[in-house]
Chain length 289, copies 2
Amino acid sequence: MQAVSPLAQRIAILGVGLIGGSLAAALRRAGAVAQVVGYSPNDDARVARALGHLDVACDSVAEAVAGAAFVVVAAPVTAMPELFAQVRDVLGAQAILTDCGSTKRSVIDAARRVLGDAFLRFVPGHPIAGSERSGPQAADPGLFRGRRWLLCPVDSTPQQHCEAVKRLLGTVGAQVSTLDPALHDKVFAEASHWPHAVAFGLSAAIAGGELAGQALEFSGAGLRDTTRVGASAPAMWADILLDNRDACLASAARFRASNEAIVAALEARDRDALLAILSTASRWRNQLG
Amino acid sequence: MQAVSPLAQRIAILGVGLIGGSLAAALRRAGAVAQVVGYSPNDDARVARALGHLDVACDSVAEAVAGAAFVVVAAPVTAMPELFAQVRDVLGAQAILTDCGSTKRSVIDAARRVLGDAFLRFVPGHPIAGSERSGPQAADPGLFRGRRWLLCPVDSTPQQHCEAVKRLLGTVGAQVSTLDPALHDKVFAEASHWPHAVAFGLSAAIAGGELAGQALEFSGAGLRDTTRVGASAPAMWADILLDNRDACLASAARFRASNEAIVAALEARDRDALLAILSTASRWRNQLG
């Protein structure tokens, strides 16, 4: 038991994979909440309980949510509409609901459609942390330390609820700020979702080529890094790309143009054109540190 | 001074950037050669000398090569024909010449054209190690430890010369093996050169888009890794891509097909097709560890 007084008696985490499991572990370590309970439709919650990340692995959404001051949905974006429907009927009158989805407009649309009056107590969220690994076995209580956690409230979301979620997430070391949901989805298509698609696409191209085995054998750090997130969970990423389809297609179009320009310069043996593209790339990437 | 007796009295390294500087530093640390000298057409050799990586920074190729048992060309592939021409006239009668170029067919063609009889003492090489950083400031004596270093001899290359280079490189911790030059270039187009082009292309697309600033601000580990080698030296990589053009265009065609298949699945909202590509990618990438 930590010396700090808990922010809440009970928090329920719905979906206890990498993100939900890491949040549970981090909250328990911080002593920020007296009791951290979780629910998952699969074995994840029991695994997380066995690993010491949860106080209780619940058998249903209703059991998990009962008495919880905060409910965090850390499930795939496609599972959220159904989870919201289950949460709606059991959410406490003062409880605050938030999520960890990588896209925000579709999650907000689903919440608005399903939650009824409880939509006013929904604070859309997105932790900018992750790993190509997944599941509660990969959970890490330090995953959010020093990392950004975005809240994407809509006009009707009360400021006080955002502040409550921000205090909660501050206890696990996250740097919390807000971003407009529509801009969020465009920025993350560009900075995360389409780059994942590129890593998947490059990995699939090599996997399907005649040199797939030799590429593994002679891989260096460049190939490993460029393709790293191509090892991520395929179903989760198919859903994220489909969920943020329009913004991803816009990012894809920019990438296609850039890729085709490199191919054209190479075909034409146009060193100046090639160097111009590579220099633009390198200047930008060097800003990333 | 180390306890081991040196393999050679003197080694000359022509081009003292990341690779040449790291090799110099590693050889000095290993005590494998009594004297490590270097030459560069720019300040790199003097910088490497000041950093303690070289015993002597020479003022010319002739000064560096005189009396050297091994000569290692660690210059950009485009600079090699001219360097070979300078080496030819001063290479000792027993000296062995090797290179560190990322492509092999064009380097071998240049060596065959330029070196005359000394071509029999040329052992084409390629260390599978690197960094997005460059220059002697980035040199690391541990760069080659446990990493592969490929030798790509042609039919006329004497086995004893390959063995001599292998013993030398073993002292810096490299795992030396041989690969056919033509296969080498195809494998490295697939496993290194085109993946670099993809990282450059993705970086250039983001750099040229309206969200370039926000993508930097909200970047996570996924974007950082996928684009990391996009920060590499543009001129060096333009030359590598042009030098290995045909194999790179073959890899580019496979990548384009894979990328277009992802875009098409997304446009058609075809989750099964998308999942199939992402699963192929993830299975292959997970073999890379």
